[in-house]
Protein backbone atom coordinates (compact mmCIF):
# COMPACT_ATOMS: atom_id res chain seq x y z
CA UNK A 1 0.00 0.00 0.00
CA UNK A 2 1.40 3.34 -0.98
CA UNK A 3 0.75 5.18 2.23
CA UNK A 4 2.55 8.12 3.67
CA UNK A 5 2.05 8.10 7.42
CA UNK A 6 1.85 11.49 9.05
CA UNK A 7 2.62 11.93 12.71
CA UNK A 8 2.13 15.01 14.85
CA UNK A 9 1.11 15.82 18.40
CA UNK A 10 -2.61 16.39 19.09
CA UNK A 11 -4.88 18.09 18.15
CA UNK A 12 -5.36 16.63 14.70
CA UNK A 13 -8.27 18.77 13.58
CA UNK A 14 -8.50 22.50 13.09
CA UNK A 15 -11.29 25.04 13.16
CA UNK A 16 -12.14 26.87 9.96
CA UNK A 17 -10.59 30.08 11.24
CA UNK A 18 -7.67 31.39 9.26
CA UNK A 19 -5.99 34.77 9.10
CA UNK A 20 -7.28 35.24 5.56
CA UNK A 21 -10.84 34.45 6.58
CA UNK A 22 -10.77 36.86 9.52
CA UNK A 23 -9.28 39.66 7.42
CA UNK A 24 -11.73 38.91 4.62
CA UNK A 25 -14.62 39.17 7.06
CA UNK A 26 -13.44 42.61 8.18
CA UNK A 27 -13.39 43.71 4.54
CA UNK A 28 -16.90 42.36 4.02
CA UNK A 29 -18.10 44.09 7.18
CA UNK A 30 -16.78 47.41 5.87
CA UNK A 31 -18.54 47.12 2.50
CA UNK A 32 -21.92 48.55 3.62
CA UNK A 33 -20.20 51.67 4.95
CA UNK A 34 -18.20 51.94 1.73
CA UNK A 35 -21.35 51.66 -0.37
CA UNK A 36 -23.08 54.38 1.62
CA UNK A 37 -20.03 56.59 1.14
CA UNK A 38 -20.13 56.09 -2.61
CA UNK A 39 -23.80 57.01 -2.58
CA UNK A 40 -23.17 60.07 -0.42
CA UNK A 41 -19.90 61.38 -1.83
CA UNK A 42 -19.75 59.91 -5.31
CA UNK A 43 -17.30 57.74 -7.19
CA UNK A 44 -14.29 59.61 -5.91
CA UNK A 45 -14.58 57.46 -2.81
CA UNK A 46 -13.83 54.33 -4.83
CA UNK A 47 -10.80 55.95 -6.42
CA UNK A 48 -9.38 56.83 -3.00
CA UNK A 49 -10.11 53.35 -1.66
CA UNK A 50 -8.49 51.65 -4.63
CA UNK A 51 -5.39 53.82 -4.46
CA UNK A 52 -5.09 53.31 -0.71
CA UNK A 53 -5.46 49.52 -0.84
CA UNK A 54 -3.22 49.18 -3.89
CA UNK A 55 -0.42 51.25 -2.37
CA UNK A 56 -0.59 49.43 0.97
CA UNK A 57 -0.45 46.01 -0.67
CA UNK A 58 2.26 47.01 -3.10
CA UNK A 59 4.34 48.62 -0.40
CA UNK A 60 4.08 45.59 1.90
CA UNK A 61 5.04 43.37 -1.03
CA UNK A 62 8.07 45.52 -1.87
CA UNK A 63 9.24 45.72 1.73
CA UNK A 64 8.92 41.97 2.29
CA UNK A 65 10.49 41.06 -1.02
CA UNK A 66 13.39 43.50 -1.22
CA UNK A 67 14.06 44.89 2.25
CA UNK A 68 13.25 42.07 4.64
CA UNK A 69 13.95 39.43 2.00
CA UNK A 70 11.72 37.08 3.94
CA UNK A 71 8.55 35.29 2.95
CA UNK A 72 5.99 37.45 1.17
CA UNK A 73 2.68 37.26 2.99
CA UNK A 74 0.57 39.95 1.31
CA UNK A 75 -2.01 37.33 0.41
CA UNK A 76 -3.17 37.24 4.04
CA UNK A 77 -5.24 40.36 3.26
CA UNK A 78 -3.94 42.30 6.26
CA UNK A 79 -2.57 45.05 4.02
CA UNK A 80 -5.93 45.20 2.26
CA UNK A 81 -7.67 45.81 5.59
CA UNK A 82 -5.12 48.49 6.50
CA UNK A 83 -5.61 50.19 3.12
CA UNK A 84 -9.37 50.07 3.36
CA UNK A 85 -9.43 51.42 6.90
CA UNK A 86 -6.99 54.18 6.01
CA UNK A 87 -9.18 55.22 3.09
CA UNK A 88 -12.28 55.26 5.25
CA UNK A 89 -10.57 57.68 7.59
CA UNK A 90 -9.96 60.26 4.86
CA UNK A 91 -12.21 63.00 3.51
CA UNK A 92 -13.73 62.16 0.15
CA UNK A 93 -12.03 64.96 -1.76
CA UNK A 94 -8.50 64.36 -0.58
CA UNK A 95 -5.82 64.50 -3.29
CA UNK A 96 -4.70 61.00 -4.24
CA UNK A 97 -1.03 61.70 -3.60
CA UNK A 98 -1.83 62.31 0.06
CA UNK A 99 -3.46 58.89 0.14
CA UNK A 100 -0.21 57.38 -1.12
CA UNK A 101 1.75 59.27 1.55
CA UNK A 102 -0.66 57.84 4.12
CA UNK A 103 -0.06 54.32 2.84
CA UNK A 104 3.69 54.84 3.09
CA UNK A 105 3.32 55.90 6.73
CA UNK A 106 0.92 53.06 7.53
CA UNK A 107 2.99 50.23 6.04
CA UNK A 108 6.45 51.73 5.91
CA UNK A 109 6.50 53.40 9.32
CA UNK A 110 3.81 51.94 11.55
CA UNK A 111 3.78 48.30 10.45
CA UNK A 112 6.84 46.80 8.77
CA UNK A 113 9.63 48.33 10.90
CA UNK A 114 8.12 46.62 13.93
CA UNK A 115 8.35 43.24 12.21
CA UNK A 116 5.18 43.17 10.12
CA UNK A 117 1.81 41.70 10.89
CA UNK A 118 1.28 40.92 14.54
CA UNK A 119 4.24 42.91 15.83
CA UNK A 120 3.20 46.52 15.34
CA UNK A 121 2.47 48.55 18.43
CA UNK A 122 0.14 51.07 16.81
CA UNK A 123 -2.76 50.60 14.48
CA UNK A 124 -1.15 51.34 11.08
CA UNK A 125 -4.20 52.96 9.49
CA UNK A 126 -4.68 55.27 12.45
CA UNK A 127 -1.02 56.17 12.73
CA UNK A 128 -1.15 57.17 9.07
CA UNK A 129 -4.34 59.16 9.55
CA UNK A 130 -2.94 61.09 12.47
CA UNK A 131 0.25 61.75 10.54
CA UNK A 132 -1.78 63.13 7.64
CA UNK A 133 -3.94 65.16 9.99
CA UNK A 134 -0.90 66.91 11.39
CA UNK A 135 1.04 67.15 8.13
CA UNK A 136 -1.85 68.22 5.87
CA UNK A 137 -4.40 69.78 8.21
CA UNK A 138 -6.15 71.74 5.51
CA UNK A 139 -6.75 68.88 3.11
CA UNK A 140 -7.64 66.55 5.97
CA UNK A 141 -10.31 68.75 7.46
CA UNK A 142 -12.09 70.26 4.48
CA UNK A 143 -14.88 67.80 4.06
CA UNK A 144 -17.10 67.86 1.02
CA UNK A 145 -20.84 68.29 1.28
CA UNK A 146 -22.88 65.17 1.16
CA UNK A 147 -24.53 65.14 -2.26
CA UNK A 148 -27.70 63.27 -1.51
CA UNK A 149 -30.77 65.23 -2.40
CA UNK A 150 -32.51 66.66 0.56
CA UNK A 151 -29.56 66.29 2.88
CA UNK A 152 -27.25 68.44 0.84
CA UNK A 153 -27.21 71.44 3.07
CA UNK A 154 -26.96 69.53 6.32
CA UNK A 155 -23.66 70.92 7.51
CA UNK A 156 -22.22 73.04 4.76
CA UNK A 157 -18.98 71.17 4.64
CA UNK A 158 -18.14 71.09 8.29
CA UNK A 159 -18.47 67.92 10.29
CA UNK A 160 -21.08 67.89 13.01
CA UNK A 161 -18.28 67.81 15.54
CA UNK A 162 -16.48 70.66 13.86
CA UNK A 163 -19.70 72.63 14.00
CA UNK A 164 -20.27 71.63 17.57
CA UNK A 165 -16.81 72.70 18.64
CA UNK A 166 -17.74 76.30 18.04
CA UNK A 167 -21.04 76.12 19.76
CA UNK A 168 -20.86 73.18 22.05
CA UNK A 169 -24.33 73.58 23.41
CA UNK A 170 -26.25 74.56 20.32
CA UNK A 171 -27.91 71.53 18.76
CA UNK A 172 -30.66 73.33 16.95
CA UNK A 173 -29.90 71.58 13.69
CA UNK A 174 -28.99 68.22 15.19
CA UNK A 175 -30.38 65.64 12.81
CA UNK A 176 -30.10 62.22 14.39
CA UNK A 177 -31.75 60.37 11.51
CA UNK A 178 -29.51 62.02 8.96
CA UNK A 179 -26.40 61.17 10.91
CA UNK A 180 -27.63 57.64 11.40
CA UNK A 181 -28.13 56.98 7.71
CA UNK A 182 -25.14 58.79 6.34
CA UNK A 183 -26.14 62.34 5.60
CA UNK A 184 -23.32 64.05 7.41
CA UNK A 185 -19.97 65.38 6.48
CA UNK A 186 -16.79 63.70 7.59
CA UNK A 187 -14.23 61.12 6.65
CA UNK A 188 -16.08 58.98 4.22
CA UNK A 189 -16.09 55.80 6.26
CA UNK A 190 -17.70 57.33 9.29
CA UNK A 191 -20.77 58.87 7.77
CA UNK A 192 -23.38 56.17 8.23
CA UNK A 193 -23.95 54.72 11.63
CA UNK A 194 -26.44 52.23 10.26
CA UNK A 195 -23.94 50.76 7.79
CA UNK A 196 -21.26 50.53 10.46
CA UNK A 197 -23.61 48.81 12.89
CA UNK A 198 -24.52 46.37 10.12
CA UNK A 199 -20.82 45.61 9.81
CA UNK A 200 -20.58 45.20 13.58
CA UNK A 201 -23.42 42.70 13.55
CA UNK A 202 -21.69 40.74 10.80
CA UNK A 203 -18.38 40.67 12.70
CA UNK A 204 -20.15 39.45 15.83
CA UNK A 205 -22.07 36.81 13.91
CA UNK A 206 -18.88 35.48 12.33
CA UNK A 207 -17.15 35.63 15.72
CA UNK A 208 -14.40 37.79 14.27
CA UNK A 209 -14.47 40.16 17.23
CA UNK A 210 -16.11 40.04 20.62
CA UNK A 211 -18.48 42.79 21.77
CA UNK A 212 -16.30 43.95 24.66
CA UNK A 213 -14.22 46.69 23.08
CA UNK A 214 -16.95 48.46 21.03
CA UNK A 215 -19.44 48.31 23.87
CA UNK A 216 -16.88 49.54 26.40
CA UNK A 217 -15.83 52.43 24.17
CA UNK A 218 -19.34 53.51 23.20
CA UNK A 219 -20.77 52.88 26.66
CA UNK A 220 -18.09 54.99 28.30
CA UNK A 221 -18.62 57.77 25.79
CA UNK A 222 -22.38 57.68 26.34
CA UNK A 223 -22.07 57.79 30.13
CA UNK A 224 -19.48 60.56 29.94
CA UNK A 225 -21.60 62.59 27.57
CA UNK A 226 -24.75 61.97 29.59
CA UNK A 227 -23.11 63.33 32.73
CA UNK A 228 -21.87 66.32 30.81
CA UNK A 229 -25.27 66.74 29.17
CA UNK A 230 -27.01 66.55 32.52
CA UNK A 231 -25.12 69.64 33.68
CA UNK A 232 -26.64 71.49 30.71
CA UNK A 233 -30.09 70.31 31.72
CA UNK A 234 -33.17 69.40 29.77
CA UNK A 235 -33.15 66.98 26.87
CA UNK A 236 -29.37 67.23 26.66
CA UNK A 237 -29.10 64.24 28.99
CA UNK A 238 -30.01 61.94 26.10
CA UNK A 239 -29.42 64.16 23.08
CA UNK A 240 -25.81 64.89 23.93
CA UNK A 241 -24.73 61.22 24.26
CA UNK A 242 -26.65 60.27 21.12
CA UNK A 243 -24.98 63.06 19.20
CA UNK A 244 -21.53 61.98 20.37
CA UNK A 245 -22.09 58.34 19.49
CA UNK A 246 -23.31 59.16 16.00
CA UNK A 247 -20.94 61.99 15.23
CA UNK A 248 -17.44 61.70 13.89
CA UNK A 249 -15.46 58.51 14.03
CA UNK A 250 -17.02 57.09 17.19
CA UNK A 251 -18.61 54.06 15.59
CA UNK A 252 -15.94 53.47 12.94
CA UNK A 253 -13.29 53.78 15.63
CA UNK A 254 -15.00 51.66 18.24
CA UNK A 255 -16.03 48.86 15.89
CA UNK A 256 -13.21 48.69 13.36
CA UNK A 257 -10.18 50.56 14.62
CA UNK A 258 -10.08 49.86 18.34
CA UNK A 259 -10.78 46.18 17.76
CA UNK A 260 -7.72 45.70 15.56
CA UNK A 261 -6.36 42.37 16.86
CA UNK A 262 -2.72 43.25 16.95
CA UNK A 263 -3.04 46.48 18.90
CA UNK A 264 -5.78 45.51 21.36
CA UNK A 265 -5.51 43.50 24.60
CA UNK A 266 -5.70 39.70 24.77
CA UNK A 267 -8.11 39.23 27.66
CA UNK A 268 -11.73 40.33 27.98
CA UNK A 269 -10.94 42.18 31.19
CA UNK A 270 -8.11 43.97 29.40
CA UNK A 271 -10.41 44.76 26.47
CA UNK A 272 -12.89 46.45 28.78
CA UNK A 273 -10.16 48.53 30.44
CA UNK A 274 -8.81 49.48 27.02
CA UNK A 275 -12.29 50.40 25.78
CA UNK A 276 -13.04 52.56 28.78
CA UNK A 277 -9.70 54.32 28.33
CA UNK A 278 -10.49 55.08 24.70
CA UNK A 279 -13.95 56.36 25.61
CA UNK A 280 -12.68 58.70 28.31
CA UNK A 281 -9.79 60.08 26.25
CA UNK A 282 -12.01 60.59 23.21
CA UNK A 283 -14.54 62.57 25.19
CA UNK A 284 -11.87 64.64 26.91
CA UNK A 285 -10.38 65.62 23.55
CA UNK A 286 -13.79 66.29 22.02
CA UNK A 287 -14.94 68.49 24.87
CA UNK A 288 -11.79 70.26 25.95
CA UNK A 289 -9.10 69.53 23.36
CA UNK A 290 -7.96 71.51 20.34
CA UNK A 291 -9.25 69.00 17.83
CA UNK A 292 -12.92 68.40 17.16
CA UNK A 293 -12.39 64.61 16.98
CA UNK A 294 -10.41 62.60 19.49
CA UNK A 295 -11.06 59.00 18.53
CA UNK A 296 -7.84 58.46 16.57
CA UNK A 297 -5.68 59.96 19.26
CA UNK A 298 -7.48 58.07 21.98
CA UNK A 299 -6.97 54.73 20.24
CA UNK A 300 -3.31 55.43 19.55
CA UNK A 301 -2.72 56.45 23.16
CA UNK A 302 -4.43 53.31 24.42
CA UNK A 303 -2.47 51.21 21.86
CA UNK A 304 0.67 52.17 23.71
CA UNK A 305 -0.80 50.90 26.97
CA UNK A 306 -1.76 47.49 25.54
CA UNK A 307 1.54 45.71 26.32
CA UNK A 308 1.17 46.85 29.91
CA UNK A 309 -2.44 45.64 30.05
CA UNK A 310 -1.40 42.28 28.61
CA UNK A 311 1.29 41.95 31.21
CA UNK A 312 -0.82 42.74 34.25
CA UNK A 313 -4.38 41.83 33.37
CA UNK A 314 -4.66 38.03 33.41
CA UNK A 315 -7.77 36.06 32.52
CA UNK A 316 -9.71 34.45 35.34
CA UNK A 317 -8.02 31.12 35.88
CA UNK A 318 -10.17 28.04 36.31
CA UNK A 319 -10.53 27.09 39.96
CA UNK A 320 -8.94 30.26 41.30
CA UNK A 321 -11.18 32.39 43.44
Amino acid sequence: MANRFFVSPAPHVHSDYSTVRLMGDVVIALLPALMVSVRVFGWNVLAITTVSIASCVLLEYLVQKFLVKGPVTVNNLSAVVTGLLLAMNLPANIPLWIVVVGAVVAIGVAKMPFGGLGKNLFNPALAARVFLLIAYPVQMTSFPQPTINGFADAYSGATPLGAAKGMLVNFADFDALGMFTGAMGGSFGEVSALALLLGFAYLLMRKVISWHIPVAVLGTMAVFAAIYGATMGGAMIWQFPLFHLLAGGALLGAIFMATDYVTSPMTTKGMVIYGIGIGVITMCIRLWGAYPEGMSFAILIMNSVVPLINKYVKPKRFGVK
Partner: protein, 283 residues
Protein backbone atom coordinates in the same frame (compact mmCIF):
# COMPACT_ATOMS: atom_id res chain seq x y z
CA UNK B 1 18.17 90.65 26.52
CA UNK B 2 16.89 90.00 30.04
CA UNK B 3 14.94 87.04 28.69
CA UNK B 4 18.18 85.57 27.42
CA UNK B 5 19.95 86.06 30.72
CA UNK B 6 17.05 84.63 32.68
CA UNK B 7 16.93 81.61 30.41
CA UNK B 8 20.62 80.95 30.79
CA UNK B 9 20.45 81.48 34.54
CA UNK B 10 17.49 79.18 35.00
CA UNK B 11 19.12 76.46 32.95
CA UNK B 12 22.31 76.74 34.96
CA UNK B 13 20.46 76.54 38.25
CA UNK B 14 18.49 73.53 37.11
CA UNK B 15 21.73 71.93 35.97
CA UNK B 16 23.45 72.52 39.29
CA UNK B 17 20.49 71.30 41.33
CA UNK B 18 20.18 68.17 39.20
CA UNK B 19 23.90 67.50 39.54
CA UNK B 20 23.77 67.80 43.32
CA UNK B 21 20.73 65.51 43.54
CA UNK B 22 22.35 62.99 41.23
CA UNK B 23 25.51 63.02 43.27
CA UNK B 24 23.75 62.26 46.52
CA UNK B 25 21.54 59.62 44.96
CA UNK B 26 24.57 57.94 43.43
CA UNK B 27 26.30 57.99 46.82
CA UNK B 28 23.29 56.58 48.58
CA UNK B 29 22.67 53.74 46.15
CA UNK B 30 26.26 52.89 45.40
CA UNK B 31 26.84 49.15 45.19
CA UNK B 32 30.15 48.00 46.57
CA UNK B 33 31.63 45.55 44.13
CA UNK B 34 35.05 44.07 43.77
CA UNK B 35 36.60 45.91 40.82
CA UNK B 36 38.41 42.70 39.91
CA UNK B 37 35.10 41.24 38.77
CA UNK B 38 34.93 43.81 35.98
CA UNK B 39 38.51 43.11 35.01
CA UNK B 40 37.98 39.37 35.03
CA UNK B 41 34.85 39.70 32.98
CA UNK B 42 36.78 41.65 30.39
CA UNK B 43 39.28 38.79 30.15
CA UNK B 44 36.55 36.24 29.48
CA UNK B 45 35.41 35.80 25.88
CA UNK B 46 32.09 37.55 26.49
CA UNK B 47 30.00 35.07 24.54
CA UNK B 48 27.54 34.63 27.44
CA UNK B 49 26.93 31.09 26.19
CA UNK B 50 26.32 29.60 29.62
CA UNK B 51 28.65 26.69 28.96
CA UNK B 52 30.32 27.22 32.35
CA UNK B 53 27.05 26.66 34.17
CA UNK B 54 26.57 30.34 35.02
CA UNK B 55 23.96 32.47 33.28
CA UNK B 56 26.61 34.65 31.70
CA UNK B 57 30.27 35.63 31.74
CA UNK B 58 29.74 37.97 34.68
CA UNK B 59 28.44 35.09 36.78
CA UNK B 60 31.60 33.12 36.13
CA UNK B 61 33.76 36.19 36.73
CA UNK B 62 32.10 36.75 40.10
CA UNK B 63 32.62 33.11 41.05
CA UNK B 64 36.25 33.22 39.92
CA UNK B 65 36.95 36.28 42.04
CA UNK B 66 35.01 35.16 45.08
CA UNK B 67 36.01 31.49 45.45
CA UNK B 68 39.45 30.57 46.72
CA UNK B 69 39.69 27.32 44.83
CA UNK B 70 38.82 27.85 41.19
CA UNK B 71 39.79 24.39 39.94
CA UNK B 72 36.16 23.45 39.30
CA UNK B 73 35.48 26.60 37.30
CA UNK B 74 36.31 26.64 33.64
CA UNK B 75 35.50 28.57 30.51
CA UNK B 76 35.77 26.14 27.64
CA UNK B 77 35.37 28.95 25.12
CA UNK B 78 38.46 30.77 26.33
CA UNK B 79 40.33 27.56 27.05
CA UNK B 80 43.51 27.04 29.05
CA UNK B 81 45.09 30.22 27.78
CA UNK B 82 42.29 32.44 28.98
CA UNK B 83 42.00 30.62 32.30
CA UNK B 84 45.70 30.88 33.10
CA UNK B 85 45.62 34.60 32.29
CA UNK B 86 42.76 35.10 34.72
CA UNK B 87 44.38 32.86 37.34
CA UNK B 88 47.58 34.90 37.11
CA UNK B 89 45.63 38.10 37.54
CA UNK B 90 43.79 36.75 40.58
CA UNK B 91 46.81 34.97 41.98
CA UNK B 92 45.14 31.58 42.04
CA UNK B 93 46.01 28.18 40.58
CA UNK B 94 44.79 27.95 37.00
CA UNK B 95 42.29 25.21 36.19
CA UNK B 96 43.28 23.09 33.23
CA UNK B 97 41.28 20.95 30.86
CA UNK B 98 42.02 18.98 27.74
CA UNK B 99 40.52 20.78 24.78
CA UNK B 100 37.30 19.18 23.69
CA UNK B 101 34.94 19.22 20.74
CA UNK B 102 31.27 18.33 20.41
CA UNK B 103 30.64 15.15 18.45
CA UNK B 104 27.32 14.00 17.03
CA UNK B 105 27.11 10.27 17.51
CA UNK B 106 24.65 9.33 14.77
CA UNK B 107 25.40 8.26 11.23
CA UNK B 108 21.86 7.47 10.19
CA UNK B 109 21.66 9.63 7.10
CA UNK B 110 18.56 9.67 4.88
CA UNK B 111 19.81 6.85 2.69
CA UNK B 112 21.14 4.69 5.51
CA UNK B 113 18.10 5.09 7.68
CA UNK B 114 14.89 5.00 5.62
CA UNK B 115 11.96 7.18 6.69
CA UNK B 116 8.89 5.26 7.79
CA UNK B 117 6.63 8.23 8.51
CA UNK B 118 6.43 11.99 8.11
CA UNK B 119 6.46 14.30 11.09
CA UNK B 120 4.25 17.38 10.72
CA UNK B 121 4.33 18.73 14.28
CA UNK B 122 6.23 21.75 15.52
CA UNK B 123 9.84 21.84 14.31
CA UNK B 124 11.54 20.92 17.53
CA UNK B 125 13.49 17.83 18.51
CA UNK B 126 12.24 18.12 22.08
CA UNK B 127 8.60 18.08 20.98
CA UNK B 128 9.03 15.29 18.42
CA UNK B 129 11.03 13.27 20.88
CA UNK B 130 8.43 13.56 23.64
CA UNK B 131 5.82 12.37 21.15
CA UNK B 132 7.48 9.38 19.53
CA UNK B 133 10.68 7.85 18.21
CA UNK B 134 10.94 9.95 15.10
CA UNK B 135 10.59 9.51 11.38
CA UNK B 136 12.60 6.31 11.18
CA UNK B 137 12.58 2.91 12.80
CA UNK B 138 15.49 3.92 15.03
CA UNK B 139 14.53 5.17 18.48
CA UNK B 140 17.93 6.63 19.31
CA UNK B 141 19.21 8.60 16.35
CA UNK B 142 19.32 12.23 15.34
CA UNK B 143 15.91 13.75 14.61
CA UNK B 144 17.31 16.62 12.64
CA UNK B 145 14.97 19.45 13.70
CA UNK B 146 17.88 21.47 14.99
CA UNK B 147 17.43 22.07 18.70
CA UNK B 148 21.23 21.92 18.89
CA UNK B 149 21.56 24.49 16.10
CA UNK B 150 19.32 26.85 18.00
CA UNK B 151 21.24 26.29 21.23
CA UNK B 152 24.67 26.98 19.70
CA UNK B 153 25.91 30.52 20.29
CA UNK B 154 28.88 30.03 17.98
CA UNK B 155 27.20 28.94 14.75
CA UNK B 156 29.22 25.74 15.04
CA UNK B 157 26.54 23.10 14.51
CA UNK B 158 24.20 22.74 11.55
CA UNK B 159 21.78 20.28 10.05
CA UNK B 160 23.16 18.95 6.80
CA UNK B 161 20.19 18.95 4.43
CA UNK B 162 21.60 15.99 2.51
CA UNK B 163 22.01 13.63 5.42
CA UNK B 164 19.40 15.19 7.70
CA UNK B 165 21.90 14.98 10.54
CA UNK B 166 23.50 17.54 12.80
CA UNK B 167 27.14 18.24 11.94
CA UNK B 168 29.69 20.04 14.08
CA UNK B 169 32.02 22.59 12.56
CA UNK B 170 35.01 21.64 14.74
CA UNK B 171 36.87 24.87 14.02
CA UNK B 172 34.05 26.96 15.44
CA UNK B 173 33.08 24.61 18.29
CA UNK B 174 34.12 25.82 21.73
CA UNK B 175 32.89 22.76 23.63
CA UNK B 176 30.55 24.90 25.71
CA UNK B 177 28.17 21.96 25.91
CA UNK B 178 24.99 23.85 25.01
CA UNK B 179 24.12 21.37 22.25
CA UNK B 180 24.76 18.43 24.55
CA UNK B 181 22.12 19.78 26.89
CA UNK B 182 19.74 20.70 24.08
CA UNK B 183 19.71 17.27 22.39
CA UNK B 184 16.77 15.26 23.75
CA UNK B 185 18.25 12.07 22.34
CA UNK B 186 21.54 12.59 24.17
CA UNK B 187 23.63 11.76 21.12
CA UNK B 188 26.06 14.68 21.34
CA UNK B 189 29.19 14.10 23.38
CA UNK B 190 32.13 16.31 24.27
CA UNK B 191 35.20 14.34 23.20
CA UNK B 192 38.90 15.01 23.36
CA UNK B 193 39.99 17.33 20.58
CA UNK B 194 42.86 16.00 18.47
CA UNK B 195 45.08 18.21 16.35
CA UNK B 196 43.71 18.90 12.87
CA UNK B 197 40.29 17.87 14.15
CA UNK B 198 41.07 14.22 13.73
CA UNK B 199 38.66 11.89 15.40
CA UNK B 200 37.50 8.33 15.68
CA UNK B 201 34.16 7.64 17.33
CA UNK B 202 31.16 5.34 17.22
CA UNK B 203 28.51 7.26 15.33
CA UNK B 204 25.62 5.36 16.89
CA UNK B 205 24.02 5.14 20.31
CA UNK B 206 21.30 2.57 19.54
CA UNK B 207 20.68 0.26 22.47
CA UNK B 208 18.53 -2.03 20.34
CA UNK B 209 19.64 -5.57 19.62
CA UNK B 210 21.75 -5.93 16.52
CA UNK B 211 18.98 -7.34 14.36
CA UNK B 212 16.57 -4.53 15.28
CA UNK B 213 19.20 -1.86 14.69
CA UNK B 214 20.13 -3.36 11.35
CA UNK B 215 16.54 -3.28 10.20
CA UNK B 216 16.19 0.39 11.06
CA UNK B 217 19.56 1.70 9.93
CA UNK B 218 22.41 0.45 7.79
CA UNK B 219 24.98 2.54 9.64
CA UNK B 220 24.07 1.48 13.15
CA UNK B 221 26.25 -0.22 15.74
CA UNK B 222 25.03 -3.78 16.17
CA UNK B 223 27.12 -4.50 19.25
CA UNK B 224 29.15 -7.29 17.59
CA UNK B 225 32.16 -6.58 19.83
CA UNK B 226 34.69 -6.95 17.01
CA UNK B 227 36.08 -3.49 17.75
CA UNK B 228 36.29 -4.21 21.45
CA UNK B 229 38.44 -7.24 20.75
CA UNK B 230 40.78 -5.51 18.32
CA UNK B 231 41.48 -2.45 20.50
CA UNK B 232 44.86 -2.66 22.17
CA UNK B 233 44.30 0.22 24.53
CA UNK B 234 41.13 -0.90 26.24
CA UNK B 235 39.42 2.18 24.91
CA UNK B 236 36.36 0.40 23.55
CA UNK B 237 33.58 -1.03 25.64
CA UNK B 238 30.34 -2.58 24.39
CA UNK B 239 27.38 -2.15 26.69
CA UNK B 240 23.66 -2.41 25.95
CA UNK B 241 24.39 -3.51 22.37
CA UNK B 242 26.40 -0.43 21.54
CA UNK B 243 30.13 0.25 21.41
CA UNK B 244 31.72 3.28 23.00
CA UNK B 245 35.22 4.58 22.40
CA UNK B 246 36.68 6.39 25.38
CA UNK B 247 38.32 9.39 23.74
CA UNK B 248 40.81 9.74 26.59
CA UNK B 249 42.16 6.24 26.00
CA UNK B 250 41.94 6.07 22.20
CA UNK B 251 45.19 6.60 20.31
CA UNK B 252 43.63 6.89 16.84
CA UNK B 253 45.18 3.59 15.72
CA UNK B 254 42.27 3.00 13.30
CA UNK B 255 42.13 -0.77 13.81
CA UNK B 256 38.55 -0.68 15.00
CA UNK B 257 37.51 1.31 11.95
CA UNK B 258 38.71 -1.42 9.65
CA UNK B 259 36.98 -4.06 11.74
CA UNK B 260 33.50 -2.51 11.97
CA UNK B 261 31.05 -4.36 9.70
CA UNK B 262 28.50 -1.55 9.42
CA UNK B 263 30.80 1.45 9.24
CA UNK B 264 29.37 2.75 12.48
CA UNK B 265 32.85 3.72 13.65
CA UNK B 266 33.61 6.99 11.93
CA UNK B 267 36.98 8.42 11.21
CA UNK B 268 37.68 12.08 10.48
CA UNK B 269 40.88 13.53 9.08
CA UNK B 270 42.65 10.19 8.89
CA UNK B 271 43.55 7.93 5.97
CA UNK B 272 42.10 4.41 6.10
CA UNK B 273 44.38 1.83 7.60
CA UNK B 274 45.92 -0.15 4.75
CA UNK B 275 48.23 -2.52 6.50
CA UNK B 276 49.60 -3.04 9.93
CA UNK B 277 51.78 -0.13 10.91
CA UNK B 278 53.22 1.38 13.98
CA UNK B 279 50.90 3.53 16.00
CA UNK B 280 52.06 7.05 15.68
CA UNK B 281 51.83 9.18 18.75
CA UNK B 282 49.96 12.26 17.77
CA UNK B 283 50.45 15.40 19.73
Amino acid sequence: MTTLIYTILTLCIIGVVAAVVLYFVAQKFKVEEDPRIDETEKMLPGANCGGCGFPGCRGLATALVESDDISALYCSVGGDECMSKIADYLGKAAPKKEPQVATVRCGGSCEKRPRTNTYVGATSCAIASSLYVGETGCAYGCLGYGDCVEACAFDAIHINPETGLAEVDADKCTACGACVKACPKGIIELRKRWPKNRAIYVSCVSKDKGAVTMKACKAGCIGCRKCEKVCEFGAITVENNVAFIDSTKCRLCRKCVAECPTGAIRMIGLAPLVKKEEVKEEK
